[in-house]
Symmetry: C2
Subunit: 202 residues, 2 copies
């Protein structure tokens, strides 16, 4: 699991360095107006090296989010089979949110206003979220004997969307905010309750 090689040419840069260089430039020039060249140049590496550490320019904005979201499948797998499916979903999503370090507010969200086109930001953010939709849909569908797979899909989509909205609210709340998990729980709760009433009409 440890991917730190003792052999071969040592790394000159790192995700952190590039991230910081990018953040500076974004603040100075906004996201839209800074090029990958500039980021790489400030970090002291070539443009191609940037793409060695990030798959795309927008990836810089979401490093923290990605790390946190990877926990979702683990949390789902750890769910007890005895608890109702939508309760398990709500708890898993909430726990993922709780695992996110409170001090690490994703850069992208804190400076939404500074980023020229907000659409591009939303698009890349949604894409991040949708990556998890398959995992969530499979989990729900697995536990539901309903032949109507569209319901699982809808539940997964709606749950993640609510979580995204909660994250947005959390950031907007500013310094005096409560914990992220609370916002997420408040937003995801109604969605899961609504679908639970349909999926498990017990």
């Amino acid at each position: 699991m440890n991917h730190s090689p003792q052999v071969g040419r040592p790394r000159r840069s790192s995700q952190r360095i590039l991230e910081e260089s990018a953040a500076e430039l974004f603040l100075e020039q906004t996201y839209a107006r800074t090029t990958v060249d500039q980021i790489a140049q400030r970090a002291g590496v070539s443009r191609n090296t940037f793409f060695n550490y990030f798959g795309s320019k927008s990836d810089v904005l979401w490093v923290d989010i990605d790390e946190t979201l990877e926990r979702l499948s683990l949390e789902l797998a750890a769910a007890s089979p005895s608890v109702p499916v939508m309760d398990a979903v709500r708890d898993a999503v909430t726990r993922v949110a709780a695992a996110h370090p409170d001090d690490r507010v994703p850069w992208a969200l804190t400076h939404v206003d500074l980023m020229g086109t907000r659409e591009e930001l939303e698009a890349s953010g949604l894409r991040r979220l949708m990556k998890q939709s398959d995992v969530l849909r499979d989990f729900i569908g697995q536990r539901v004997r309903s032949a109507d797979s569209s319901l699982s899909r809808a539940a997964a989509f709606a749950t993640l969307a609510a979580a995204a909205a909660a994250a947005g609210a959390w950031v907007s709340a500013g310094v005096g905010r409560r914990a992220l998990a609370e916002y997420v729980a408040d937003a995801v709760g109604p969605v899961c309750a609504g679908f639970a009433a349909v999926i498990e009409p017990g």
Copy 2:
């Protein structure tokens, strides 16, 4: 409202022509492998003319969707103030879906499999939907005296995401499918019910 000019050079092309040329090429080569140049060339116009009719390459995929989605704000405005908020939301969204012509299955969704990266497609489609989130959020927030605006946002996001999932299911159902509005109602219903229980605990 009619912007058809009697003066000036007449149009050589149209959105329909370009759309059809694009559809042919997408089927032959997939979306990812066809360039804007090719679309324009097949339509008998120059590349720049393409951008006269569409803002971007992906816009071609969503013309029908965009037309339908524009109805949302109208439906919301027509809602009676006496009916509970989330009921009004559910009905409005369902009516928008009902207004979509059943024969006009959005090209993008019918051929999801043929389009290289499905992620990009899903994201761009969801983005279209989320353009309406402001309208929906404002509508909900207006009728709710709750100071917690984050709930309105979550409700709007979740509702639209459920609608998107329903649209996907509708397309996947193939030729023997029921009406789009039914899928949407099934998916949006639980979401609205869940939030109604929180927003209007009456």
